[in-house]
Symmetry: C2
Subunit: 519 residues, 2 copies
């Protein structure tokens, strides 16, 4: 795998005759828009993708020195643009080849490390169609189909989510970070309606947001962006499985109030990034209701569990949230970004943004503008990201997603079982989703610092070997290894092989550093 | 065109046997990941796209009643998911057909109305490859190729932009609105470094942003989002061509200071949304430098002019901006979103966000993490949007983009010429880019209100006829018609035909409303 990573010729050499040409003429440009040009390019790329998807080998990431990739990119960038179609074909082939060889091999069972996956291949076809069809999805006029599809899909999801059907809303937005920011903005707008016009300088109390101590960085960033202040986060304590503890949360909220902080929003995880932990949503909803606080659930990773009849109970209480982020590009297996943002009450959604722009916003509402989402989503030009998810749902059915997700969660539990009985490993929690953190335990007792350093070194070396890709995470300052199972082709055999790989690299580390504390 | 918009069977009827099935099995799911499944889907979609791209007819938007589309979408969503591959193929064909028939027909010369275009078809192929290759572009580990490509492309662009080569930075982000927000955040961070941690409540002066009176709504939104306050915008006056006047700007800035406002950022347009107007960047840069103000240039529409040797002089002074937004999905003809955000000084870029997340951010910088952009861009999972732009640039050369852009700007000037000599039209400005606003003038004298209402009605009716698609814009409260020429196949004949269409609908309006003031 590593050996075929890059073309074997010397890529740092840029021939003299590869200097850019200065003109190709409008007729040549027009040819590039001809259907036969598209046909040639597309057929060729598809052949390459077929080969790629057919490769069932176990492999991780071929982590390459940037200098090698850079030389290849530079050569392709600077060299020899002509109107010669054969040359175009050759270059495209090289670009696609380079693309498929670099990066994490997400369709391989060796990939066990991040929250994205090789999407259902049909979604890639839909992305291609989306690029040609050009229906930006914030306004019905330009994006009639995706706008309607968002509406229909919102109703599909709400069959499982259970928000009030006459009041809820859902729309797509460009990534979980943007969805979280948007929801927090709506929460801010509810508590401080004057902030939009007058700024946060006019709030005379101390706005604050309560978050899981395992909050995603997009939430802490949002506090900085929105003028709340990153230091105004109230971190709620966690149990051994990294879930917010209701009692701890009550105490922390009381203490915050005593310090003069006005907590206007609680952010809970439904599938934390580190552990896949699901916070006690029902208890947090009680607390939020009692205190008049907005409850936002960051379900970027685990929100999709609602589409599985078997997994849905893990999200009990979700229907009581004020807002919910769900990344379909994580656990619904479509290309990034495809994030769904739900609000229990659509009036709160439109309060997030207020603006006027005559070239896009109509003053009068009509049958068309009712389908616009631009008053609720951040983007002006929004990619019709819903289309790939919808195609998948319409063609194969919800159950294709749900059953893949169930298979992944089941396999993660099996991995937990394997780790539990292995003498040289310790799983750190019973996985609630498809994420599992664990540590390798050497024979000798190590300090926490050395134990963490060992995990980090193991992770780097496993990655460097190129067969398996796992990730690492810091837990209270001590590193751990982390599995994210995104490929339904991963079997217990692959898990065992990966653990053997960890053992093997741990052995080499031991040989290099006989004093383990020095790693 | 209209007649073939939707399948002609009754779509509101959902047969009983189309109820969703409840299980398809993991083996069936695995088949959906097989290369032969992808091959079948892709080949079929490509055939449909070839037919679509081959249609050279003049047509605009088939604006459809949402109910019709909704019925079709509902039928496809609810009906008959099975593991039968023939059924999958049939559904995909129907989805693609529906997709291509709805929406604005952007590859047709009848389309003259918005800032997106039918992209170079090869970019759609690259989008498909991107979906399979799955290289999210914020971190080198996952997105090695797009991370390197961003770096190389930043250098390519800077050959024309002229920022200090040892200090500037460029990265992609998901849309012009997000790029503008990010740049304003960097500007806020420079003036109020404590705001990130402590919130905007701690700033004891009155932060304000000076903007063109024709500012895009994403900027006014950003003021609301960042805790500055939408009411803290200082609007700079415009000349007849809707460009900021330097003298007026000085006065407005002085007046703002006298009112106790601390203007920390000026936002200028390089291609305003309404007019395509380019503000006097050199004079504004002088003003910003004198007063220690950040200069952000919203070049979402017109920033791409820098790649044309002939058009570049229109952007004189751009190299003195602190930051620049450029939407390649507008005037570089790639799929949305593909936005480039430039900073003259990369240290300012990293000051926009501050955070820590052990599962993604490495504390130590190495040869790989140096290529990460997550410390500068908002997104965690970022679409590798640079890839389609790069493929275009590498395969066909910069000149393919530049010459298409020149052809569009030239044709817009020709349209201006045609309107200038027509007795029943008045162009409102000499176009600086490919956007031109104008009004139809009836024989009789109308009040401004009635004149505006007439334009709005003309625009709606032209749109409804389905042959041409133009847009409208409000100028100081009075509507005007607006051309945005994005298709190099538009000729002066098409312009004349469109004007004839306007005349024809104006005549029908006249017949229906003999008293023009009553429109």
């Amino acid at each position: 795998m590593l050996s075929r990573l890059l073309p074997d010729r010397d890529m740092s050499e840029i021939p003299e005759n590869f200097l850019p040409i200065e003109s190709i003429g409008i007729e040549d440009i027009d040819n590039l828009f001809e259907s036969k040009c598209f046909s040639r390019h597309a057929s060729q790329a598809i052949d390459q993708l077929i080969t790629y998807l057919g490769d069932r080998s176990t492999r991780g990431l071929a982590l390459t020195d940037p200098a090698g990739i850079r030389a290849a990119v530079t050569r392709l960038t600077l060299g020899g643009q002509t109107s010669d179609t054969a040359e175009h074909d050759r270059k495209l082939a090289e670009i696609v080849d380079l693309y498929l060889q670099t990066g994490i091999q997400v369709y391989s069972p060796g990939y066990m490390g991040r929250q994205f996956s090789g999407p259902f291949p049909v979604t890639a076809v839909v992305d291609m169609v989306s690029a040609i069809a050009t229906q930006p999805a914030s306004f019905y006029e330009a994006g009639a189909l995706p706008c309607v599809v968002e509406r229909v899909m919102s109703e599909e999801f709400n069959r499982f989510l259970g928000f009030p059907s006459d009041r809820f809303t859902m729309f797509t937005t460009s990534g979980g970070s943007l969805a979280n920011l948007t929801a927090l903005l709506a929460a801010r707008g509810r508590r401080y309606p004057q902030a939009w016009g007058e700024g946060m300088g006019e709030t005379d109390c101390c706005p604050a947001i309560a978050v899981s101590s395992d909050v995603h960085y997009s939430i802490t960033r949002a506090a900085g962006i929105l003028g709340i202040g990153e230091n105004r986060l109230v971190r709620l304590p966690l149990d051994h499985a990294r879930r917010i503890t209701p009692a701890g949360a009550r105490e922390a909220l009381d203490a915050a109030a005593a310090r003069g902080l006005d907590v206007f929003c609680i952010v809970a995880n439904a599938g934390s990034t580190s552990f896949g932990a699901i916070d006690p949503l029902d208890e947090l909803a009680d607390m939020a209701a009692e205190r008049g606080i907005w409850l936002h659930v960051d379900g970027s990773h685990g929100g999709s569990l609602i589409v599985s009849d078997r997994l849905r109970p893990r999200l009990a209480g979700l229907n009581r949230a004020d807002s919910l982020t769900l990344d379909a590009h994580k656990t619904m297996f479509v290309p990034a970004a495809c994030t769904l943002l739900f609000y229990r009450d659509r009036d709160q959604a439109t309060a997030a943004f207020r603006q006027e722009a005559s070239y896009v916003f109509e003053n009068t509402s009509d049958v068309y503008s009712e389908y616009n989402s631009a008053d609720r989503n951040f983007e002006c030009t929004k990619r019709p990201m819903i289309m790939s998810l919808w195609a998948l749902w319409a063609m194969y059915g919800r159950t294709a997603i749900a059953e893949k997700l169930e298979a992944l969660c089941d396999m993660t539990r099996k991995a937990h079982g394997i780790l539990s009985v292995a003498p040289d490993f310790v799983p750190l929690h019973l996985p609630e989703t498809n994420i599992l953190c664990f540590r390798y335990l050497p024979n000798e007792q190590l300090s926490p610092k050395a134990l963490g350093a060992l995990q980090t070194e193991i992770r780097s070396r496993v990655r460097a070997r190129g067969r398996f890709f796992i990730s690492k995470v810091d837990i209270d300052g001590v590193s751990a290894l982390r599995l994210v199972l995104m490929n339904h082709r991963i079997t217990t055999d692959h898990i065992r092989q990966m653990l053997d790989e960890v053992r093997a690299v741990a052995l080499t580390i031991r040989e290099e550093f006989p004093q383990s504390e020095e790693i």
